[in-house]
Symmetry: C2
């Protein structure tokens, strides 16, 4: 009988919902007239996009915040329209009746400041590509430096606006983990639990160096022009090169071996015969990067690099129970570094459990193989 | 009395030698009127530099060949003049009375084709920066594609010219390991033993992708100009960016943590306060890269990328006893991949021993910490 009601409800919700059974979510915009950064600069008319599913309960204690990764958006779960090809990146674990059950929790996720995907219509963000109200022109590199803590502060304003005094859980992968740690360190009374996935409170200096290497192809592209390319041809080649490095870094040699081997990009075009003849993995990386570059902004990528370099949540302030999920084969956030942080968290007295993810995808196992940690996620949420 | 004679000899050899006790080596040039590449193209007037120490014995059975790494040269041991600040990269293990004892062995090392260091006066190589005798102009990107096997074939011509029928041992680090494997696979009757250090017979496809990422900043630099920059301003910014990625990749997060931490490049210039304020590790990488770029050639780097991508020694043909030395923390040639190759070599019936190097330097432990494998190297050489 309950199932019948559920079905009726689904039908009433619209034919699309009934057809697919997908969770349909709406993208909304949160606005702040002004925001002052950690670095002390004021940004007017700040906007970020967000989406939610489920219902906030009477005491507003069932909200779970999902924070996104470097190249991600708020789109962690659901579809915006039934015709969408892909659901959100963690749709396998978030939704009605799923591990993070939107029948029980109010799950919310927002775009960050300086979000990479300015060309994705559903993304709402504020960054170098945004128009500076004082000049009527895009900020470009005059946009203030922002950090992970700024991302969290703007999210907090959004959470405050919903009347939520305390988040049940903050969970995020990679840059999302940096944000989860920063939430727990900056607003310990507002955070019930954290689930940092494939990330740390502070990047190792080696990653600070790599982040610099990620961004540098952009500034080599003459079309970058010191960041002043809006209304002109953008630095697409530099942006593609940056995204190629990031894509590769987020993967693993097992993936490369299994997916490409040493095959040439084109049959009959031996890479040993001509300089332009390439290997399949090179072609695949270039194609993936070109697809991403078409909807990304180069200056936003540089600002994300900076924001990640600046991440540095103060572990000593973190008391929330935590489930730290990581991939031992991760080549961006290395297991020994994550294990060191777990020791430090435990030394603070925080109750910290850990879960490991396996698979051929290195860092990306944190997105693709998250289901492996289902039991431990369930246990933490129920605590 | 013998000591006294040795001292007298040293004094007769010149005051410099007596002052320092250093092994002084002479850089020589090997020339081939023409060489036909594995890809089937002919290069006229091929030159590579080489150096040797010790004396070839009567039956010419005591020659050890040292093959160099990506950014290396023949300078594995000794000094060219007593005033040289630095000795060769493996001088700690090669020389009179040292682990690889030049009183016992004739140790030889050559520059490869397309050697990176065209601006180092002692380096002799043939590549895109060389003048094409047919046109009187530098080859630039018209230089034929060359592979690790071509490096080995040219070395073989050098070894043949010395009347050496069989090398006692071939030993090399990283790209030098690729060459050692290729020697053993291509010329099994000429190779007594191999000591591949921090490298494989064939790079994993993941490394093929990374090699592409290493080279790409060069082609983004407008001064690269399709490789045609000789006599003009070279693509120094692109070359620096490429060398920065390579430097970082060859290191490790322990090194970054211990050497730099999260210090800013300049005291008082908080990286969070302005986009141009950087971290110390970024500054150090840029400085190191600038130093290397000043003596390197951008096209040669691209040709080295290609040569390494093309490496693929046929393991099934390798029968030589081997000592495989690797660093478990290596982030270029990963331990699991090296261990797989060791299993394959053993499955062929080759007698293979392994040694592991530790230290904070990841891949570079293979150069900096080679002394840790001294006992196993000694044992293999004595076999």
């Amino acid at each position: 009988m309950l199932r019948a009601f559920a079905l009726l409800f689904a039908l009433l919700a619209g034919p699309a919902f009934a057809q697919t059974g997908d969770l349909i979510v709406e993208k909304r915009t949160f606005e702040m007239p002004s925001y002052t950064t950690v670095g002390g600069q004021t940004i007017k008319n700040v906007k970020i996009g967000w989406q939610a599913a489920g219902t906030l309960n009477a005491d507003r204690s069932n909200a779970i915040l999902i924070t996104h990764f470097f190249s991600g958006t708020s789109h962690a779960f659901g579809k915006y329209t039934p015709g969408d090809k892909a659901a959100g990146y963690w749709d396998s674990i978030i939704g009605p009746g799923k591990l993070i059950d939107t029948n029980q929790y109010f799950v919310i996720s927002s775009d960050t400041l300086v979000n990479l995907n300015t060309g994705v219509p559903t993304v709402v963000t504020t960054g170098p590509a945004s128009v500076n109200p004082d000049t009527g022109k895009p900020y470009a590199m005059s946009f203030p430096v922002v950090s992970i803590k700024d991302f969290v502060n703007v999210q907090k304003a959004l959470i405050d606006s919903l009347g939520i005094k305390r988040l049940h859980t903050v969970m995020g992968a990679s840059m999302g983990a940096l944000q989860a740690y920063e939430w727990a360190a900056s607003y310990p009374d507002m955070v019930g639990r954290i689930i940092p996935v494939i990330g740390q409170a502070q990047p190792n200096p080696y990653l600070v160096g790599w982040l610099s290497a990620w961004g540098q192809p952009i500034t080599l592209d003459p079309k970058w022009n010191g960041g002043d390319y809006y209304g002109k041809e953008p630095p697409t080649e530099g942006l593609k090169a940056a995204l190629k490095v990031i894509t590769l870094h987020a993967q693993h040699f097992d993936w490369a071996e299994k997916t490409f081997g040493n095959a040439p990009a084109e049959e009959g075009k031996d890479p040993g015969k001509a300089f332009g003849n390439r290997f399949k993995i090179e072609q695949a990386l270039d194609q993936a990067a070109a697809g991403r570059a078409a909807v990304s902004d180069a200056n936003h990528l540089l600002y994300l690099v900076k924001a990640n370099q600046l991440a540095g949540a103060d572990i000593s302030k973190i008391k929330s129970p935590a489930l730290v999920i990581y991939a031992p084969t991760d080549l961006i956030f290395y297991a020994p570094n994550i294990e060191d942080e777990v020791s430090k968290l435990r030394a603070n007295g925080a109750a910290v459990d850990v879960a490991q993810l396996t698979g051929p995808n290195g860092h990306l196992n944190g997105v693709l193989a998250i289901g492996q940690a289902a039991d431990k996620i369930k246990a933490l949420l129920a605590k």
